[in-house]
């Protein structure tokens, strides 16, 4: 007879670490590629495994949501919408934590597996990104911490500047391989490294 819940209650598993496989596991091969002119123009790395959640404020709760998220360094993803990203958390842990912290204030959806975040950094990072996005990436217009929803090579990209010369590009998992092939090709002329 049923031992486990037949209704919708999350199975109580404390921070289980499970063997997640990145869709770029066989694609993002480490090494030095493209033109060899001294230091690499950019360095790519795949941030995996990662916990990602979308947070969308409920009606009239925009401010409350922003306040509740202050400590999470939320990434803007639309009016009253954010991505929250965390590293080193167990399966579903961030989602559950946010869900309880934001109960009645915002909707939370787990996207940890649905999106792949590619980090790109280095002196030529803006030149590479300019081949894809129409967003102005000058530091005066797009400082560290700012995010934008954009499109590169026909793929929707959530882009965040995480440092002076460092950006993170979040794409749907299904497009990640195709996008990886495209963006690394755009970096070939500057020489790139995959870490």
């Amino acid at each position: 007879m049923p031992k486990a819940p037949v209704r919708s209650k999350p199975v109580a598993v404390a921070e289980v670490i499970l063997p997640r496989v990145s869709p770029l596991a066989d694609v993002a091969v480490q090494g030095r590629f493209g033109a060899d002119r001294g230091a690499p123009g950019v360095t790519f790395s795949v941030r995996h495994p990662l916990s990602i959640a979308t947070v969308i404020a409920r009606a009239g709760k925009g401010k409350a949501t922003a306040q509740a998220l202050a400590e999470y360094e939320p990434r803007w993803a639309g009016p009253d919408q954010y991505f929250v990203v965390a590293q080193g958390r167990g399966e579903g842990a961030l989602y559950r934590e946010l869900k309880s912290a934001l109960d009645g204030i915002a909707s939370v959806s787990d996207q940890s597996h649905g999106r792949v975040i590619i980090r790109i950094e280095g002196p030529k990072v803006r030149n590479v990104l300019a081949k894809g996005t129409p967003v102005d990436l000058h530091a005066d217009e797009f400082p560290a911490g700012k995010s934008a929803l954009t499109q590169m090579a026909h793929v929707g990209v959530h882009m965040t500047r995480v440092g002076e010369d460092a950006f993170e590009l979040s794409v749907f998992r299904g497009f990640s391989e195709s996008f990886w092939e495209w963006i690394t090709e755009q970096a070939e002329e500057f020489g790139y490294q995959v870490r």
């Binding site: 031992k3 997640r20 009606a59 299904g174 497009f175 195709s178």
Partner: protein
């Protein structure tokens, strides 16, 4: 061959030599040369043949407007036809071929057209190829097509890469002559983000071509100083070899950067060209002005060129256009050519000035005032001239200047029309607003000092414009002269298309009095140079012929592209492998391991069938169906759209979106939903589950996932903003697999953690949150598209392959098979489930047999419009089953249904077959069809007529559920 290279001067590097070939002959030039200047320096003046008469032609210009010296550059896959020799930077190993000639440039059979030139007047094609009508398609058009065009395209693939990129700036400066440099310098010094773009390899614009004096130094030295300063500013980007070709909405400019056109092949990893979209807060058009030819007999003979081109070749490239020169001008600028050529040691016979007076400095060259050149002698090289008073003067080169046309093209790309200016005799730009400023010669300023001041003003983004450097001005005065009517020979207006001055009055006489009509009738301005040289002359001649003013005639429409842009640049990297992105499901690797054949579904790659050795698609799909129905199968359904719907009004929102009700759905249960468009037609369907009071997960069809999301955005924002609801796509978060068949439960039971699966714990339409494989979170739905006892299992995507492999292992003892979308489709047709073929944008819920789903207790999108008489007509086509009367027959999708005995006609049409499949369970072809009043016609024998394939069989209308009508298997 005599050298026409001047012994000193020029911006060429004489210490290095470059070898190149033109029509197979070897030559040498220097870095800094263009192909045109190197050919001139080598004494090669004949560079091409004209389009219609195949007349021998040399260069007319030294720049972007060149209509004559068009060549095929490079060979093989890199060959580029119709490339302007004046714009090709010379490089080591360059090869070029002349075009539009046979067998050779020197002896061209096609020149015989010239003998029949009285026939080839304006409108020749329209007049000649009219009769007999039947000749057009088979005879005339192929001949004209063959004769048309200049160079030939390569049939090989281009091996090079092309790119696209975006740039942003406070100020985009287009053109790097005195105006552009001054604008860029002023803005750059103020700290603004500046982009300076110029089509040439070397910045400096006209300062490189002329002998100017600025700040007590040469114009070139001043330009080099400014460029060095700009180059040192981090806020300034210099873009040489970049043609800004268009001005678009939002102050966005298109530009083509020729990154590697000046080398034999790009270095590895570098593109040949880059297509830029430059988003400019402000922009300055400092494109300068284009000199105009004058129409006189033989104004196209090699050796005749624009006066500015002749001095550019001498000043910039140290190449003399001839040994003995005559200058013909209607304005002061022609005098510069005479003085410059003389300074370079070239003999100048005379200046022929059409005006009776001029204050310009002839530098000691004799001036024949009030005279005009009527005709130029010679065929492949100018050999003397005859004036309108029949005086003969010997020479081998003629410099002509008919005045200057401000390069207003970009300023007119968004619809503005230029205005005629009687002072400078040129069209000046329209009002382009405050964010796009036309400055310098492009705005009709003819003095250097005016250009510098204009540039400084345009580059001043705030505050007062700075003082400009002192310079020496060359006075400018002009009197109209368009056409020397005393000419005997052909006087060309549009060189490339061979339209002559006489063609325009002819066009006017024949009724083509509007400039746009005259253009098309005479082909003036329709060549690759798009009338940059000849259009103003054409307008003037048409104005005279029609008794109108220049202003009244006006110009033709200026459109992008300013100069031709290669297809490669437009395509950028988006061809071949990158034509569109590929979207892979989280179960892709699992399916691939099992030998799946993938099919593109939108961008998705879906596993279509899993062939065993020797199986074709039908054998594989049939085997997969039988195995699933007899035992158990697993199918990747991850592509279905999944949307997380949350909030206290989530249920109310779904009630608006779907025609049936979801607010009453119990937590832990799923329900099939049908969505209508506002017009009452079915939009999409799918299963939506309730995970918590304020949390649903909706599924959509693969094809409509994004569209449904957009519909939700619209519905919430525009129609029901009062609802407290949020929605976000979670399609990619989940790997989802259907596990179907009599052994589905037994298979899944082996991997689901701590849940005894039975009809009570997991009833039909259950939607549960569980874990599998010791802790992998999962959602378990008891749903069926196949009609079997079936489940859908969703796990976070990174675990997808692992879990699917585990399901395969668990089902091994039962003989599990993977099945693809082909088998899925066969099974749904066997069960009469509707899908894309039936949800095709023409059907109502009732047409699909789902009319009862339309709630009468609530409002929803599409409700009102679905009640229109046309949508409730009982005679509408509705979904029925169709099967052949003779089970050996095959029915085909798309076939039309006709009553027995009727002949095919629109009136007799009863409907059509929308889905067919070979049913391995029934051993025959079966289908679903949309047939008028079909539900009342079960059992009727009809013709299934396929006009496309010329195929007709007899079919029987039947219930859409072909297999397991009692739905026993679903609950087995």
């Amino acid at each position: 061959m005599t050298s026409y290279r001047l012994s000193s001067g020029g911006l060429i590097d004489r210490t290095a030599s470059l070898n190149f070939k033109f029509d197979g002959k070897s030559f040498t030039g220097h870095p800094g040369d263009t192909l045109a200047s190197a050919l001139i320096a080598n004494g090669v003046h004949l560079m091409g043949r004209s389009f219609k008469y195949h007349r021998p032609r040399g260069v007319i210009t030294a720049g972007a407007a060149e209509p004559n010296a068009l060549v095929e550059l490079r060979e093989g896959g890199r060959k580029e036809a119709n490339t302007r020799a004046t714009m090709i930077e010379l490089y080591e190993g360059l090869t070029a071929q002349s075009q539009n000639r046979w067998p050779s440039l020197d002896f061209d059979i096609g020149a015989i057209n010239s003998l029949a030139s009285s026939m080839f007047v304006a409108g020749f094609y329209y007049k000649t190829f009219m009769w007999p009508k039947s000749f057009w398609e088979k005879i005339y058009e192929p001949i004209i097509r063959k004769a048309a065009g200049l160079g030939t395209a390569s049939k090989e693939a281009d091996p090079d890469k092309y790119e696209k990129a975006y740039a942003h700036c406070d100020l985009l400066v287009i053109g790097s002559g005195p105006t552009g440099l001054m604008a860029a310098l002023t803005a750059g010094r103020s700290g603004a983000r500046v982009i300076l773009a110029d089509e040439s390899a070397r910045l400096g614009g006209s300062l490189l071509n002329e002998r100017e004096e600025i700040d007590g130094d040469s114009g070139i030295a001043w330009a080099d100083g400014v460029i060095a300063e700009l180059g040192s500013m981090p806020n300034v980007t210099l873009m040489p070899r970049t043609t800004v070709f268009g001005w678009y909405d939002g102050n966005i400019f298109g530009a083509a950067e020729r990154v590697n056109d000046h080398v034999i092949a790009p270095s590895p990893y570098e593109p040949r060209q880059r297509y830029w979209r430059i988003i400019a807060k402000k922009a300055v058009l400092a494109a300068g002005a284009e000199e105009r030819p004058v129409a006189f007999g033989g104004n196209d003979i090699p050796g005749v060129m624009l006066a500015s081109a002749m001095r550019t070749y001498a000043n910039r490239y140290a190449a003399a256009a001839g040994k003995s020169v005559v200058v013909f001008t209607n304005n002061d600028s022609g005098y510069r050519t005479a003085r410059d050529m003389k300074a370079h040691g070239v003999h100048v016979e005379a200046i022929v000035d059409s005006r009776s007076e001029s204050k310009a400095d002839a530098g000691g060259v004799p001036v024949l005032r009030g005279r005009r050149i009527a005709d130029v002698g010679g065929k492949k090289l100018a050999a003397g001239i005859e004036l309108d008073d029949h005086t003969h003067i010997g020479c081998d080169a003629v410099a002509m200047s008919g005045g200057w046309s401000p390069i207003v093209n970009l300023a007119c790309h968004r619809g503005g029309r230029p205005a005629w200016n009687d002072q400078i005799l040129g069209f000046v730009p329209p009002d382009t607003g405050k964010d796009f400023i036309v400055a310098g010669a492009a705005a009709g300023r003819m003095l250097l000092s005016e250009c510098l001041a204009d540039g400084a003003r345009a580059g001043t983004l705030k505050g007062k414009a700075p003082a400009t450097p002192k310079c020496r001005d060359e006075a400018f005065a002009i009197a109209p002269l368009w056409w020397v009517k005393e000419s005997h020979g052909k006087a060309f207006i549009d060189y490339q298309n061979d339209s002559t001055a006489k063609d325009l009055p002819l066009a006017a006489r024949e009724g083509y009095r509007d400039i746009e009509l005259a253009k098309r009738y005479t082909t003036t301005g329709m060549a690759t140079d798009q009338g940059k040289l000849g259009n103003v002359n054409a307008i003037a001649i048409l104005a005279e012929a029609t008794g109108k003013s220049m202003e009244q005639v006006g110009t033709t429409t200026f459109r992008p592209y300013y100069t031709p842009v290669s297809f490669g640049a437009f395509a950028g990297p988006f061809h071949g492998h990158h034509f569109q992105p590929v979207r892979k499901t989280p179960l892709h690797d699992w399916a691939d391991e099992l030998g799946a054949v993938f099919v593109e579904t939108g961008l998705w790659m879906r596993s279509s069938w899993f062939p065993l050795e020797g199986e074709d698609w039908l054998a594989a799909a049939s085997r997969e169906v039988v195995a699933t129905r007899e035992r158990v199968g697993i199918c990747d359904v991850s592509t279905l759209g999944k949307i997380d719907v949350q909030g206290k009004d989530a249920g109310a929102f779904l009630d608006k979106l779907y025609c049936n009700t979801f607010s009453t759905l119990a937590v832990g249960r799923a329900r099939y939903g049908l969505m209508l468009r506002e017009d009452g037609i079915v939009y999409d369907d799918g299963t939506t589950s309730r995970l918590a009071d304020d949390h649903y997960v909706m599924t959509t069809t693969t094809a409509n996932a994004a569209k449904v999301m957009a519909q939700m955005e619209f519905a919430h924002q525009a129609l029901f903003p009062e609802l407290d609801v949020t929605y976000v796509t979670v399609t990619e978060q989940w790997a989802q697999m259907a596990v179907a068949g009599p052994k589905a439960r037994a298979t899944l039971q082996k991997i689901v953690d701590g849940l005894e699966m039975n009809d009570q714990s997991v009833p039909y339409m259950a939607a549960l949150e569980v874990t599998v494989l010791n802790g992998v979170p999962a959602r378990l739905f008891r749903l069926s598209f196949s009609g079997e006892h079936a489940y859908e299992l969703a796990v976070p995507a990174d675990y997808g392959n692992m879990v699917a492999r585990a399901v395969m292992q668990a089902g091994d003892e039962f003989g599990i098979v993977p099945y693809g979308v082909e088998a899925l489709s066969i099974m749904r047709i066997e069960k009469g489930h509707v899908a894309g073929g039936e949800l095709n944008g023409t059907t109502t819920a009732a047409d699909l047999g789902l009319g009862k789903m339309m709630s009468s207790k609530k409002d929803y999108i599409g409700r009102m419009m679905a009640q229109r008489p046309g949508l409730t007509d009982p005679n509408r086509q509705c979904v029925v089953g169709i099967r052949p009367v003779d089970p050996q027959d095959r029915i085909r999708s798309g076939s039309h249904i006709l009553k027995d005995g009727d002949r095919p006609s629109m009136a007799a049409d009863q409907g059509y077959v929308c889905s067919v499949a070979w049913s391995p369970m029934l051993n025959m072809w079966i289908g679903l069809a949309l047939i008028a009043n079909g539900r009342a016609r079960h059992g009727e024998v009809v013709q299934v007529w396929d006009g496309l394939r010329g195929h007709k069989v007899m079919g029987e209308i039947c219930d859409p559920v072909h297999f397991d009508k009692e739905n026993k298997r679903l609950h087995a």
